[in-house]
Symmetry: C2
Subunit: 262 residues, 2 copies
């Protein structure tokens, strides 16, 4: 089942996507819903960010190849995490499928990171790894856009990762997913530039949810982006990036220059 | 003017605190409000966290003495920040004035950090330092409770800073503040353990708001905790910590052991 959040005639709603039709609901997949009887063609609506999370978790280093390549770039030794320490991203940066990533003034090394986005469906504390997936509503796709020069120069990741428009997410939430069957592919202007087995993580979804929930209450709508593998070219204004995860969908965003002299 | 968020007879509301009476409003200080005609005695209500922010910003190293003392403890060289790089905290950890901080199982070095909390009142982007305070609604008090062993051992600050109950905030938001006149005092079980000039920051409120808003849109209800000075003793179950900032108020919380075998 696919949950889509969209706007139509000035109102934002959740719906269930069946083929290319949206069955509108009142309410949402987190607090409860009922069908309104309205339907829309997918092509008639504007797709919105699937959820604005209470807390936006993101895993920084979770695939071996990405860690080794990042270390080589920064001139440091690769340091494989020994436990699942999660980080944070910020809602101001979220944009939807087909919205534009604005490359800010002064940015010199903007890159993509195609990621599996885990959406929490119910309140959870102290889950074991065996119980962990019971709190998951479904999965979406995130592009953890990053400015590598700022990532290296700044003390924290605030602008390197959270500049406005740097967190494309969507196009929807898929609830029926076989994690081991997923493959992530990224294309720039139609040419494939990354491909990896989505679930070949150092610490998987179950391990992260269990570890987080030992200290922290997870709430409906929280999400965890699970990190990326491989590398990205430096992106330029005009580039179109597609992150596809098999069985979920394709997240597509164009990178553009700022308007005026912003 | 003091904005207080409270619950009374099962409902959460904002009110304006006048002496020890609360003048209830419909709405809130961010989106607009009007007085309902209801009033309550402060002693009759439960004080709630003053705001649940869309994004919870927090400055890590912003006072010279704190940076030097932290470096000495961790056996590293003090590294004074050269630009205002902001970090993040997480809403799951917020608790109100007079609620309990639960020291989790396995924690060995839990400490307080008394901080000025800046609450954003209106949407802002690209503010100069001269314009920065125009987007501020007011100021509150935060206790950035930290587990120092986890802060040292983990790759990120997630559980060291964001374990459930680790972010006491309150008791209210004061809109009329002279930043240079503020003094922060922290007491443990009634004995003063820290005192510093609140505004003697490496980078002040104006500098942070201006720097953040160059890349990031600030939204109504966002908040920025401004860091702390000095050091804290290791806290134990039963300790009561009061963070006072002159002209704002006193934030009081007891530290307790987890219930049962949690």
């Amino acid at each position: 089942m696919r949950w889509i959040r969209y706007s139509h005639a000035g109102a934002v709603a959740y719906g269930i996507l069946e083929g290319d039709r949206i069955v509108e609901v009142a309410g949402d997949p987190f607090g409860g819903f009922e069908k309104t009887g309205e339907t829309h063609a997918l092509a008639e609506v504007k797709i919105e960010v699937p959820v604005i999370p209470p807390t936006f978790y993101c895993v920084g280093l979770n695939y071996t190849a990405h860690i080794k390549e990042a270390a080589a770039k920064f001139g440091t030794m690769p340091d494989l995490p020994t436990q699942p320490d999660v980080g944070y991203r910020s809602n101001n940066a979220l944009i939807a499928h087909e919205e534009n990533v604005v490359i800010p003034a002064g940015a010199t090394k903007v890159q993509y990171e195609g990621e599996l986005a885990v959406v929490i469906g119910r309140k959870a504390k102290n889950l074991s790894e065996a119980e962990a997936l019971s709190c998951v509503l479904g999965y979406s796709i995130g592009n953890d856009v990053s400015e590598r020069a700022w990532q290296k120069s700044d003390r924290t990741l605030w602008r390197a990762k959270n500049t406005d428009t740097f967190k494309p997410m969507g196009p929807w939430i898929e609830t029926d997913v076989d994690l081991d069957a997923l493959e992530t592919r990224v294309r720039v202007n139609g040419t494939e530039t990354s491909r990896f087995a989505t679930n070949s993580m150092l610490f998987g979804v179950e391990a992260y949810i269990s570890a987080i929930s030992r200290y922290i209450t997870l709430y409906p709508g929280d999400m965890i982006w699970m990190g990326t593998d491989g590398t990205s070219p430096d992106l330029r204004a005009g580039d179109e990036v597609e992150v596809e995860i098999s069985g979920i969908g394709v997240l597509r965003n164009r990178f553009v220059a700022p308007a005026g002299n912003e």
